[in-house]
């Protein structure tokens, strides 16, 4: 059972994008950072649960030549083994900052060439990140998708059989599973079925994907075999998170939490529904667990100028 906690107010409402909430859990103390895209700007918040004090910072998308202001498409904290970077994407390019958003360390312009603005090539860019400083370099471009990338999920390689540690998803619903390394290798492709896959997660060799028709599907990462199909929502999924529970949020105003396990006899993936929450009249656009045990989560909604929080009782 979960109950509502105090909401965190935002300076501007959340934009109708998918995966529109990023949460950085800091290992020391109870401090958490939240990131939400408003439109041309992204808001970063640090909320200390003890005294509830809030530190806000607003980041703007880098302007380019063009008629309308640049809109940010995603804000995300990338937790690397030795460093945390804050990444802002827009259709003009990729900006990387130090984790608190104070300094921009890298800018990569996406050249659209002769194509009219708005055509997306489906390229996945791989960057080499040094332990410190701005010496970030584009190391590789992965070809595998034909339409725009919607989400990328990663997991440290476990050892044992599973050698897949990156999954990319696109607008056509296609999933590509990769093994990282000095050069990335494509492990398997999981075809779409006519709807976009806005959100994907990777956990212990399982790919969890949320689709535009409200379905959540779980696949075995190495071979791409479908193991579970859930008719989870009545509208497009907007966000997934794995903590070890699976969290799904959709434009139908619902958030659901699912328990994942492996059957001891067959080893196949099993799912059980744990909890559902309805956020009335709110088209959700982001959802994340706020701690590693999954005992609390936060959601954002279109037109809503606050981050809603829930914690288990």
């Amino acid at each position: 059972m979960f109950r509502r906690e105090h909401s965190i107010p935002l300076r501007g409402s959340a934009a109708a994008l998918c995966n529109n909430l990023s949460v950085l859990q800091l290992p020391t103390g109870n401090l958490r950072h939240f990131g939400v895209v408003h439109g041309p700007s992204a808001q970063l918040l640090s909320a200390a649960p003890e005294d509830g004090s809030l530190v806000q910072r607003q980041l703007q998308a880098k302007e380019g030549a063009g008629v309308s202001p640049t809109l940010i498409t995603q804000v995300h904290w990338c937790v690397l083994p030795f460093r945390v970077l804050l990444v802002l994407t827009s259709h003009r390019g990729i900006q990387m900052f130090e984790s608190d958003g104070s300094i921009m360390v890298y800018w990569h312009a996406l050249d659209t060439g002769d194509a009219p603005p708005g055509t997306w090539s489906g390229r996945v860019l791989v960057f080499d990140i040094p332990a410190k400083g701005p010496n970030i370099m584009l190391s590789e471009e992965l070809a595998g998708h034909q339409t725009s990338i919607t989400d990328i999920a990663t997991e440290p390689v476990q050892g044992g059989d599973c050698m897949a540690d990156v999954v990319t998803a696109d607008d056509s619903g296609l999933l590509c599973v990769w093994r990282s390394g000095p050069e990335f290798t494509l492990v398997t492709r999981i075809p779409g079925f006519g709807v976009p896959c806005p959100s994907v997660k990777l956990w212990q060799g399982i790919v969890a994907a949320g689709y535009g028709n409200g379905q959540v599907r779980l696949y075995e990462a190495m071979k791409g075999t479908l193991h579970v199909q859930i008719s989870a929502h009545a509208r497009t999924i907007c966000a997934l998170d794995l903590a070890p529970e699976l969290l799904s949020a959709a434009e139908d105003t619902f958030v659901h939490i699912w328990k994942l396990s492996r059957s001891p006899e067959s080893g196949s993936i099993e799912v059980e529904h744990c909890h559902g929450e309805c956020v009335s009249n709110t088209q959700l656009c982001g959802a994340r667990f706020c701690d590693p045990s999954g005992s609390s989560f936060a959601v954002t909604g279109y037109d809503l100028a606050e981050i809603l929080r829930f914690s288990s009782v």
């Binding site: 300076r11 109708a16 008629v67 202001p69 708005g118 919607t150 009545a234 529904h273 309805c278 009249n281």
Partner: protein, 389 residues
């Protein structure tokens, strides 16, 4: 964001505008033989609608509209509708035009938000076009223009993927972000709450292509289903029975985008300082607009394709009031909050001052003291050029 959004935005907002004008003109309808010189008749109503529809669906204008391009600001788009609303003998003063635009935008925002599938926004557009054809059915030339646009829509949009429609939907929602004006017909029907937010139902048919939530299916490594369990979703959904038609004629199934106004359900907005006052809206008006020059160029190109039929002869402009009384209209103009002062190019003012003394008087009362930033000599040249179109 999507570069294919503008035609859908323009046509649907235009459709709502026609529904509202049609309803107001009917409400003020006086039988032809009994009408005084300054009162609206059925003939006048049909003429106004014909003029606006034929301007809206003009071929050159549609060509410009359908070019892949980003969405422009709300201000720039509003100017196009100001011009369109005055494509005939009808005149609207600032307060009525504001109200008209508020109603149009909130109605389409509602329709986009409630579309079951992103692709259904195309059905909403078809609903508007079907109704527009009904309004001008006595004019075969204009009907042909509308059908041409229909075909163009089908050509451009029917082949788009679900992902592209999702992007179009997101682009539209970003355009409508933070607009929470209360519309009394929505409040009465309980589709909008008193805080201005729309009600999102969790019951009814699921979108076409979606299953009713509640089932978990598990498979083994051979792809055979080994377990099936149900869970309680929380909503009250049923299967969709039929898909709407994307053909030139057909049952659209979806009701969004059909005419919700009638003589018994008049148009009305409720406004209050609180609901109109949102941070991002205020910011949009206060911050200087560096894109103004680009927008003026866009408007010049777009309206270059608009052939406005200037009524000839000594006919005065007929004024249409969107409020219930003239006093209400004047009150609304005077009580408009500061930060919403319209910085839209007032092309109409320059044209009509020669035509209508009364309008000039009203405009004089509504004179905005803060001149728009781009009302420099360069801006004036562009304005003058547009007036000559």
């Amino acid at each position: 964001m999507s570069v294919r959004t503008l035609p859908l935005l323009f046509l649907n907002l235009g459709g709502e505008m026609l529904y509202i004008l049609d309803q107001r003109l009917r409400a003020q309808n006086i039988p032809g033989d009994k009408a005084r010189k300054d009162e609206w008749t059925e003939v006048d109503r049909k003429r106004v609608l014909n003029d606006i529809v034929s301007t809206m669906f003009n071929r050159k204008f549609m060509e410009e509209l359908f070019k892949p391009q980003e969405l422009y600001s709300k201000k720039a788009l509003r100017t196009v509708y100001d011009r369109l609303a005055h494509a005939s003998i009808m005149r609207l003063n600032q307060a009525s035009m504001d109200k008209l635009y508020d109603l149009m935008t909130m109605a389409f925002k509602y329709q986009v938000l409630l579309c079951p599938r992103p692709k259904d926004v195309l059905l909403v557009t078809f609903n508007h076009l079907d109704a527009i054809k009904g309004l001008i059915q006595d004019s075969p030339t204009i009907l042909h223009q509308v059908d041409e646009t229909f075909r163009q829509l089908m050509e451009v949009y029917c082949g788009l993927s679900a992902g592209e429609f999702q992007l179009i939907r997101q682009t539209l929602l970003i355009f409508f972000q933070d607009l929470h004006i209360r519309v009394s017909i929505f409040l009465k029907d309980k589709v909008q709450n008193s805080n201005g937010r729309f009600v999102l139902p969790v019951s009814g048919p699921v979108p076409w292509g979606t299953e009713v939530p509640g089932l978990i299916r598990m498979f083994n490594h051979k792809g055979e289903e080994v377990k099936k369990i149900k869970f309680k979703h929380g909503g009250n959904y049923v299967t969709a029975t039929k898909e709407g038609s994307f053909e030139l004629y057909g049952d659209r199934v979806l009701k969004l985008g059909t005419n919700m106004y009638s003589l018994n359900r008049p148009v009305d907005t409720q406004t209050s300082g609180a609901s109109k006052n949102s941070t991002s809206r205020a910011q949009e008006n206060i911050a200087p607009n560096p894109l103004a020059k680009e927008e003026l160029n866009f408007l010049a190109r777009l309206m270059g394709g608009m052939e406005i039929k200037n009524p000839s002869g000594p006919e005065p402009g007929f004024r249409l009031n969107l409020f219930t009384t003239d006093d209400e209209e004047e009150q609304a103009a005077l009580t408009k909050p500061e930060e919403l002062d319209n910085k839209v190019i007032n092309i109409q003012a320059m044209q009509d001052q020669q035509r209508s003394e009364e309008l000039a008087r009203i405009l004089g009362e509504l004179e905005v003291t803060d001149q728009p930033r781009w009302s420099t000599s360069k801006g004036d040249d562009l304005l003058a050029m547009m007036d000559e179109l």
